[in-house]
Symmetry: D2
Subunit: 135 residues, 4 copies
């Protein structure tokens, strides 16, 4: 799937992601990058990006990398997600870089690193597993 | 903090949670229950509740149990969250039951179980850690 | 499987667990309890039980609860394990209480709480997933 | 700390790691590599390396990277560890590559990837947090 095809699919199916303005920018061979715009919806006390907004971004980035690899299997579902928050995000967009660690027939394990746009120090790091339905 | 005080605080500070309609129903001695209403925002392909919506609910429930125990320390932040999705949610409200496993001076570790309202089989189970700022 | 049958099976197959002296004490309907004796092998700086010893205990307790539920499927394998260390263990045996959260056809998700023998405050809490091979 | 200094320290303090034959091979700027020899102690059904052995290796690699960065603070303790098992290990040594994601004053978050010696496909991936005592 191209980023455009993926973003169109999720526009229909994932209202929360759509409302948060999540958009895949690149989808490659087992990788994807996704942007979360900085806006009022994602805030938490202190004026920075909230944890739940970053978790939504992680899940979306994994979905993009996975569907980039296996096609539009929209019933693939997250079975596990683990995230460590590392640094206070800047008041700017958050970028997610996802990489597939293992793509099996039934399970895919992925890793996602989050950055404040323009900064090299990761603000969060996550791993997760998607279950792939029989096709 | 009472559920009302907690919900008022988050209404101001957590726009995403507010928009999802999250509300603490009980806050007790190291425990809290939170309701997430079933509505359009939380959907995913297949018509069920999305993973990111459930992760937002988990984080909110941990925040409720923690602030119930230590008072309105709104700068407490999640440092780690791990969630396992267990069963397909029903098309109804999701209830979160949070329990503090360990309340230290600097870190609190909590456990959250999610249920479809009216059903005893858990749909997701999570653990997480909050960092408590010096007071 | 009974605790005896399970302990015999692992005696043959899991030399590390055997050497650590791990023994299932009860195996019930989706639950199991396992004892890890306090001995020189499991120590860490400070004279308490090491994290890796406790992780071995968690994995063994999940294996006991799972094989108690599905029989001697020794090729079932851990796919994910997450553990939070909560309190400094006492210089005594560690008890593990495992509970199956979800037993599917392909995956089982379990929760394990660790206690210093005779103390009610958990010293660690873990969740994990086993993959069940086709039978 | 050099690999030699680290291995000497753990020889005294971590009997389980010593018995498993774990040895740091390199310790650099926020990174470390550790070798686990293939031997009878680490086996599981199927003749491959057991999960608990790999978890012990992960914890040791994080300890090496951390003490490489902050010096011989042997009372630093793991607070969280999450591991995903990705592929069946080969019947050979396992190599761990650890990288510090965030080194704070009180907490360090690290990532560890495990490989069968001589193979580029990871067999497991883990993240973990160490708590650093006040110095």
């Amino acid at each position: 799937m191209t980023p455009d095809a993926f973003n169109s699919l999720t526009e229909t199916y994932l209202p929360l992601a759509h409302q948060m303005g999540l958009r895949a920018e690149t989808i490659g061979d087992g990788v994807a990058t996704v942007r979360m715009p900085f806006n009022g919806m994602s805030l938490r006390p202190g004026g920075t990006v909230s944890g739940p907004a970053m978790m939504g971004l992680v899940d979306y980035a994994m979905f993009a990398a996975l569907l980039g690899a296996i096609g539009p299997v929209e019933l693939a579902v997250t079975t596990n997600l683990n995230i460590n928050f590392l640094r206070r995000p800047a008041q700017t967009d958050v970028m997610a870089e996802c990489r597939i660690l293992k793509l099996g027939r039934r399970l895919a394990v992925m890793e996602v690193t989050l950055f404040s746009d323009g900064d090299d120090d990761p603000i969060a790091h996550a791993t997760g597993t998607y279950s792939i339905p029989p096709r």
